[in-house]
Amino acid sequence: MTGKEYRTITDVKGPLVFLNKTEPVAFGEIVTLRLANGDIKNGQVLDTSDDLVIVQVFEGTAKINRETGVTFMGDVFKLPVSTDLVGRILDGAGRPRDGGPEIVADEKADIIGAAINPYSRQSPNDFIQTGVSAIDLCTSLVRGQKLPIFSASGLPHNDIALQIARQAKLKDSDEEFIVVFCAMGITAEEYNFFRSDLERTGALENAVLFVNLADDPAVERIITPRLALTAAEYLAFEKDYHVLVIYTDMTNYCDALRQIGAAREEVPGRRGYPGYMYTDLAMLYERAGIVKGKKGSITQFPILTMPGDDITHPIPDLSGYITEGQIVISRELHQQGIYPPINVLPSLSRLMGSCIGEKTTREDHKSVSDQMYAAYAQGRELRGLVAIVGEDALNERDKQLLDFSGVFEDKFLRQTRDEDRSIEETLDLCWTLMSSIDTKYLVRLDQKWIEKYHPDNRD
């Protein structure tokens, strides 16, 4: 149903339009606004009562005045979904951006998305091999997981995300992911980088892109990830695809959220972000997973840039409380010229325990991962000590660990942008590197794995 057009705007403030007395308007209802020059803008109802309706306008409120005609569309925001979405590029509000035809809908899906019943979820335990040693060994990714990249401006998070998108596969399987890419407020340059890389590798044919760029309306960013996830849910749970959702940059999304909160004069939480940001982010991140009785899955790779490299900033902080771990990019490693500059120490994959071991990766994975991590952590700590007392003051064990920390960064972390290491290659590399340390100091390695895999004991 399309209702009649109202010309009862009383106030316009930031992205919000306030209207007087209308018919009863539903909460969350979609609104179109027709400007004097015939332009059409879209919005959504944020607050509704008998006397007053507040509409959030996605395209910005420029040129809206009291003569603007407002029509309530009688329905909440829905995305037309079909498998035709695959291979398409859409804008931040779901309209074609690639010059192609409108999407012919199999059905229309509510973009807010319902919560998955926790009882209906299935525990994720399929190991995804990304070909990036640091991730595969220390923060193993699982199908159905949400694992964000905590980065900062000027770091190569986009390269890492693309490398993962290119290389990610189940071990010993050629099954590919459909990539749903969601850009929020990134620059045209970054977008072109993503796009041309996807084109170059042919991945674009298996991808859906939702693109809201830095000069697109900020408020639109609120719906862009919801559109992307709605498409992902359709492809995963209706069409049995395994979907990898990459969204960048969550920081721009949160800033848009703050902008709306401020315009509504809401009581702000930390650093001016709205108090409901945790819930709001959870409504996105929690749309990852596997559900019983469905073949597909949704794995999420949100990218966020930490303002001021500060991991306690509300955006990484609230994300970390919701996501199942995080991959932290280090400026220090980047400046040493190491790619990928992943700092494994604060990185974590909460679901790793369920996806590694004899049946999925290799029997020594856990043991090797613990030992590599511990030795590197101790080596890094020793660097601080050496700065004070000098290297000569170290005992033999500490010297070996100190040297190892350098080798770890140079040989283990470092790989090229198209180097796809299998998990076996990664583990064998670890054993080679660890052999520079006396076996008696490798206390976290199981004796039986030392006998089986240590270079001294192999042929």
Binding site: F27, L46, D50, A115, N117, S123, R270, A282, Y373
Partner: protein, 579 residues
């Protein structure tokens, strides 16, 4: 005014209705779909309602119906092994009704009303009964007898009582005044269930986690807070407590947390065996899962739903442990609702009543004399998720003011892979004084003294570490180097515990005592050997010591530990001679 009104305004989960007679906390049905909500504010004719389901698509003018009841939970046989959302709808039923996604407008009974239970009467016709008195037993699971109690507000003389098979809505007992009683009763969640008096706690809740039981014990009926930044192991700790603590019943509330984590619990618990009874853990567990993306108002209600169920089992004379993970999400739900109500905020946008709500919640913990004279307890363990790990924020502070046990999780320890990552320097328990008698009587006479020695060593270590940071450990005198070595043994052998290891995950309290003694024994042996000229390096590296330390991963350790300690001491004594 009637009990029917119309919607005036909708703003997210907050709906305003007019034209309806309403009292605070009345449960209402909102809109054509009958979404469940609760009255939380009254302004003249207008009632402000928090709605437990998504409100998109609801319009002003739709009807609102006041049920004139307050938000209540159903209590009776069938509660155990259930998994509920925040307003006690069983998740398996919701799956059946609406598929894998939770939509709205579905009502579900808290448990199977038709299921037949065998009721064994415990009173006879002519007996006088009072509120809380047990009138019959139902064997609900292998381990738990569900005691059917007279509702707290009812008393009288039994006119007739049944025996045999009934469902929970059939009348099993009639009083002289005509009051009929069924096995199911209701209780409003925001009202604590009554009891006769609170006792001072004197028994520890034994958790099988060494750092908790030994250094920072929690009493049955006590309250503990676990604050920690993300990734520090709050959830793993809470789950370990749910698995291994010696409470007879466990209520686990997943409040605003991750869906996949709840799934893990749901997958795992039915296969786990309770070390205290040998029966599946699920048989003593009630779970409430309101994940972060489920409606925020239901999240607010979930902790009350949980604690009311816990109190109900307490009233039967059981020791109940309740885990709430995480109370910060509950507080954030309050903040969200409060901001929609346009209330004047207190600190960081939280409502001004935040700390009193937190205090009221933890005050529902306690060891009590129940209405029927029995002894029961509710122990509350609340996780707190402070932003950025900084516990100066309002939820942590509100919690610390009220709880007597503080288990501070530490991101630094977690990064060193020291688990459980509980910081032994800033954590505390105020219970040792009231529990020490129990430890002396049941474990060992010198238990408290051993504890003091262990924590003293850790304290000294932290002071020495500051010096080591500057000059390196070699610059310290040998006796202090030994102290560092002993402290390292405490940390690696005693405090670290692998929550995923078959054997190590649960450590018997007697074994904990022996392990602590073993460390002190090493210290004594080393000291005396070094006084006789042995070298620190030789003393530390005796093979029997690493055997002793590794032994904790093997079954039957408690039978071997004394002889292993003796062997270690002998080898240390030998180190004098070889030198």
């Amino acid at each position: 005014m009637s009990n029917e009104g119309v919607i005036y305004r909708i703003s997210g989960p907050v709906v305003t209705a007019t034209g309806m007679s309403a009292a605070m906390y009345d449960v209402v049905r909102v809109g054509h779909e009958g979404l469940m909500g609760e009255v939380i504010e009254l302004h003249g004719e207008k009632a402000v309602i928090q709605v437990y389901e998504d409100t998109s698509g609801i319009r002003p003018g739709e009807p609102v119906l006041n049920t004139e009841e307050t938000l209540s939970v159903s209590l009776g046989p069938g509660l155990l092994t259930q998994i509920y959302d925040g307003i006690q709808r069983p998740l398996p039923t919701l799956e059946k009704e609406m598929g894998v996604f939770i939509t709205r407008g579905v009502d579900a009974d808290a448990f199977d009303l038709e299921k037949i239970w065998t009721f064994e009467p415990q009173v006879a016709a002519g007996d006088a009964v009072v509120g809380g008195q047990v009138i019959g037993h139902v064997q609900e699971t292998d381990t738990i007898i569900h005691k059917i109690m007279v509702p707290p507000t009812v008393s009288g003389t039994v006119k007739s009582i049944e025996s045999g098979d009934f469902n929970v809505t059939q009348t099993v007992c009639v009083l002289e005044d005509g009051t009929e009683m069924q096995m199911m009763q209701k209780w409003p969640v925001r009202t604590p269930r009554p009891f006769q008096q609170k006792y001072a706690p004197d028994t520890p809740l034994v958790t099988g986690m060494r750092i908790l039981d030994f250094l920072f014990p929690l009493a049955k009926g006590g309250a503990a807070g676990i604050p920690g930044p993300f990734g520090s192991g709050k959830t793993v700790t809470q789950q370990s407590l749910a698995k291994y603590s010696d409470a007879q019943l466990v209520v686990y509330i997943g409040c605003g947390e991750r869906g996949n984590e709840m799934t893990e619990v749901l997958d795992e618990f039915p296969h786990l065996i309770d070390p205290n009874t040998g029966k599946p853990l699920m048989e003593r567990t009630v779970m409430i899962a309101n994940t972060s993306n489920m409606p925020v108002a239901a999240r607010e209600a979930s902790v009350y739903t949980g604690i009311t169920i816990a109190e109900y089992f307490r009233d039967m004379g059981y020791d109940v442990a309740l885990m709430a993970d995480s109370t910060s999400r509950w507080a954030e739900a309050m903040r969200e609702i409060s901001s929609r109500l346009e209330e004047m905020p207190g600190e960081e946008g939280y409502p001004a009543y935040l700390s009193s709500r937190i205090a009221e919640f933890y005050e529902r913990a306690g060891r009590v004399e129940t209405l029927n004279g029995d002894d029961g307890s509710v122990t509350v363990i609340g996780a707190v998720s402070p932003p950025g790990g900084d516990i100066s924020e309002p939820v942590s502070q509100g919690t610390l003011r009220i709880v007597k046990v503080f288990w501070g999780l530490d991101a630094g320890l977690a990064r060193q892979r020291h688990f459980p990552a509980i910081n032994w320097l800033n954590s505390y328990s105020l219970y040792p004084q009231s529990l020490d008698q129990w430890f002396r009587d049941n474990i060992a006479q010198d238990f408290p003294e051993i504890r003091t020695q262990i924590s003293g060593l850790l304290q000294i270590e932290s002071e020495l570490q500051e010096i080591v940071q500057l000059v390196g450990s070699d610059a310290l005198p040998v006796d202090q180097q030994l102290t560092l070595e002993v402290a390292r043994m405490i940390r690696e052998f005693f405090l670290q515990q692998n929550g995923f290891h078959d054997v190590d995950a649960y450590c018997d309290i007697h074994l904990q005592y022996h392990m602590a003694k073993a460390i002190l024994s090493f210290q004594d042996a080393a000291k005396s050997a070094m006084a006789d000229g042995a070298l620190l390096n030789d003393v530390v590296n005796v093979p029997a010591r690493s055997d002793l330390m590794r032994g904790r991963f093997e079954k039957g350790y408690i039978d071997r530990i004394d002889s292993m300690v003796k062997k270690m001491n002998d080898e240390i004594a030998d180190a004098v001679e070889t030198n």
